[in-house]
């Protein structure tokens, strides 16, 4: 009897050992930025900014991949900006998958939405603002997420304990407002402050050519209200995070070579409410000009009920703005890509232009070149504050 049990245990253990999987992967990168113009504000770095970053990922999977643990820390060291030298746990989570449900626990990132130039409905994670100007880098968010797969779609329920403050460039950094955001001067509407328990739910489904999503978020607004304040003899921007309820809707229709994209939100806070829309399309030419390259053309439009602001009430960043983009995938061995984007405000003078190009070198390196140009002559535009921050960035990434 004992022997039989022992044999069964050994069998179980050896089965467990062979079916468990452990993997280490990730990337190391060196980035070099060069700003063409001299700084607008005295403490800012002059022209050159060097950065190195590491983002390893540790993965454990067992039970046929139905149980997984992922740990993904991140750290960046910046030569100029102390605020940009920062670390984060992008992911430290345990996921268990049942037949038609999943429970995801820990620090994670969730993306909602379909559009490319602005992500209105995507509100689970805080923006890691020092990383880039596009707002696509996010800080890890602690969560308990139950996902249910039904015939009528996927339902996600989220409990979100613990709030993360947005990151902003420091005194020496470029790409910031004339006065810096004070990371120690933070206040909240909720008496629970950063401990407020947020709640969210999302339904998403695919019906034929349509991908639909609807969501509701209740909790701390990820977007701070920044107001000038005095810190000793210095002016700073203090951060205030109010409570919000946000309803969001996202729709994509995929019809032949066309992708039609639509996002809309209604946000209600004690400091006012508004609704906003981001909508547009993407068209792909396959094998353009008799080559194996693909060309994608994108156009999107932003509207916001807050409209254009003034010096006292800044209104919305994108209230009547149009975006154009083109993406070329060369489909070569090195997966070379070239991306161009242009945005302009139809009410004010504010335009920005970006170029991103990258290709693989060998099997585990990747080189990228990014160019970002900003132009504005209108004081109330956010772009006005960074009008001298046109720059080029070269980066070299090693994947392991």
């Amino acid at each position: 009897m004992l022997l039989k049990n022992l044999a069964a245990m050994i069998l179980l253990l050896s089965f467990g050992a062979t079916s468990a999987e452990f993997e280490v992967s990730g990337k190391l990168a060196v980035e070099q930025r060069y700003f063409f113009d001299s700084a607008l504000y005295t403490e800012q770095l002059r022209h050159s900014q060097t950065s190195i970053l590491a983002e390893p990922e540790l993965y454990w999977g067992w039970n046929d991949g139905n149980d997984t643990v992922i740990f993904k820390p991140f750290y960046r060291i910046d030569s100029q900006d102390d605020e940009r030298t920062h670390g984060d746990i992008r992911e430290l989570s345990y996921i268990h998958a049942g037949e038609d449900w999943e429970l995801r626990t820990g620090i994670r990132k969730e993306f909602w939405g379909v559009t490319e130039f602005q992500h209105l409905v995507d509100v689970i994670n805080q923006t890691d603002g020092v990383e880039d100007t596009d707002g696509e880098d996010k800080l890890g968010q602690l969560m308990l997420n139950l996902s249910l797969v039904k015939d009528w779609g996927i339902v996600d329920l989220y409990l979100l304990p613990g709030f993360r403050e947005r990151t902003f460039a420091g005194e020496n950094g470029r790409l910031r407002a004339p006065i810096v955001v004070d990371e120690n001067n933070v206040s909240y509407e909720s008496s629970a402050k950063e401990q407020h328990l947020d709640f969210a739910m999302r339904w998403s489904h695919s019906i034929g050519d349509f991908d639909l999503g609807a969501n509701w978020f209740h909790g701390t607004n990820r977007e701070p209200i920044l107001t000038p304040d005095q810190d000793g003899d210095k002016f700073v921007l203090k951060q205030y995070y109010n409570q919000m309820d946000q309803l969001g809707l996202d729709v994509q229709a995929t019809i032949d070579d066309w992708l039609y994209k639509f996002e809309s939100i209604y946000r209600n806070t004690n400091d006012g409410n508004f609704w906003a829309i981001q909508a547009g399309f993407e068209y792909s030419f396959v094998g353009v000009f008799d080559t194996i390259a693909d060309l994608g053309l994108l156009m999107e439009y932003s509207w916001d009920s807050r409209g254009e602001g003034d010096l006292i009430d800044p209104g919305a960043g994108f209230q009547n703005d149009v975006f154009f983009g083109s993406r070329i995938a060369f489909n070569d061995m090195q997966s070379s890509e070239f991306l161009m984007g242009f945005s302009t405000d139809l009410d004010h003078s504010a335009t920005s232009f970006i170029i991103e190009a990258n290709r693989r070198l060998g099997d585990s390196f990747k080189a990228s070149i990014d160019v970002r140009l900003f132009q504005s002559s209108d004081l109330i535009e956010q772009t006005y504050a960074i009008r001298n921050d046109d720059h080029v960035q070269l980066s070299f990434e090693w994947y392991f």
């Binding site: 991949g65 379909v114 396959v286 994947y399």
Partner: protein, 265 residues
């Protein structure tokens, strides 16, 4: 009397011969369809499968690049298969995954998961002719074979890979296909594809795909261990090596949705 009897039997033999000749007088188009139907029929019932694919990309100078991919498929009755494609190499795309619900005639439904952004993107399935991961395989070369995707013409018999084979021309029905036709050789014993020639939109020979080292699984299903695609126009080639083929592994429809797409490794 005897003569009459003989005459009758001769006549009936002639009539029989004529009749049977008529029933076998299929047009080359019908013959091509019948051969393809038989090949498809012999490959039904595998339920689900998993396999590891290694792609070796070679350019004219002999430089190589590797793609490491895992594929999970689920057979769907009266529709195209569902499949998950998981990328492991090159390392910069590790974790990227691709979900496809294929349909015999209608456009496939396809989603791409981008792990860096944690984003699932519905993508247009019109891109059939484009290269897969920079290789000489187009997306359509890797999709499941469905009878309704082509019209057919039987061209005759030929020996390929030392096996007596049917030679069948296939014309893609979908106008987004990168080909005007494919010529396919299937061996007469097992109806396995031995070789395919691809003709581009200008009807010029573009690529040749050869199947090497067939192995039988579950006593029924034949899969080639290796496939070699040679592009005659640019001199590049791609070799596919298959490993760890498994069938009837217990995959379910629930393993092929947007949630599993984000989780799968």
């Amino acid at each position: 009397m005897l003569k009459k009897k003989m005459l009758i039997s001769t006549l009936s033999a002639v009539a029989l011969a004529l009749m049977s000749n008529m029933s076998f007088a299929l047009t080359p188009e019908q013959q091509g369809l019948e051969i393809s139907k038989e090949a498809k029929q012999r490959d039904l019932g595998w339920v689900d499968s998993t396999a590891d694919m290694l792609m070796l990309l070679r350019n004219k100078q002999g430089q190589e690049s590797i793609r490491e991919i895992k594929i999970k498929s689920l057979e769907i009755d009266d529709d195209g298969d569902k499949s998950l494609t998981i990328f492991n190499k090159p390392k910069d795309v590790k974790g990227t995954a691709f979900l496809s619900f294929s349909h015999p005639v209608d456009a496939d439904d396809q989603w791409l998961y981008l792990p860096a952004l944690k984003r699932v993107k519905r993508i247009s399935s019109r891109n059939k002719s484009g290269p897969f991961m920079g290789s000489e395989f187009a997306f359509e070369d890797l999709s499941s074979f469905e009878i309704k995707k082509y019209s057919y013409k039987y061209l005759g018999d030929e020996k390929v890979n030392n096996l007596e084979s049917f030679k069948v021309e296939q014309y893609p029905v979908d106008e987004n296909s990168g080909y005007t036709k494919r010529i396919v050789w299937l061996d007469k014993n097992e109806y396995r594809v031995q070789k395919i020639e691809f003709y581009d939109r200008k009807s010029a020979l573009l690529k040749t795909l050869t199947y090497v080292d067939y192995k039988q699984y579950l006593g029924k299903y034949w899969r080639a261990n290796s496939q070699n695609m040679l592009n005659h126009q640019n001199g590049k080639s791609t070799e596919l090596k298959w490993n760890n083929y498994a069938f009837k592994t217990g995959l379910k429809a629930g393993d092929f949705n947007r949630n599993s797409l984000k989780r799968v490794r």
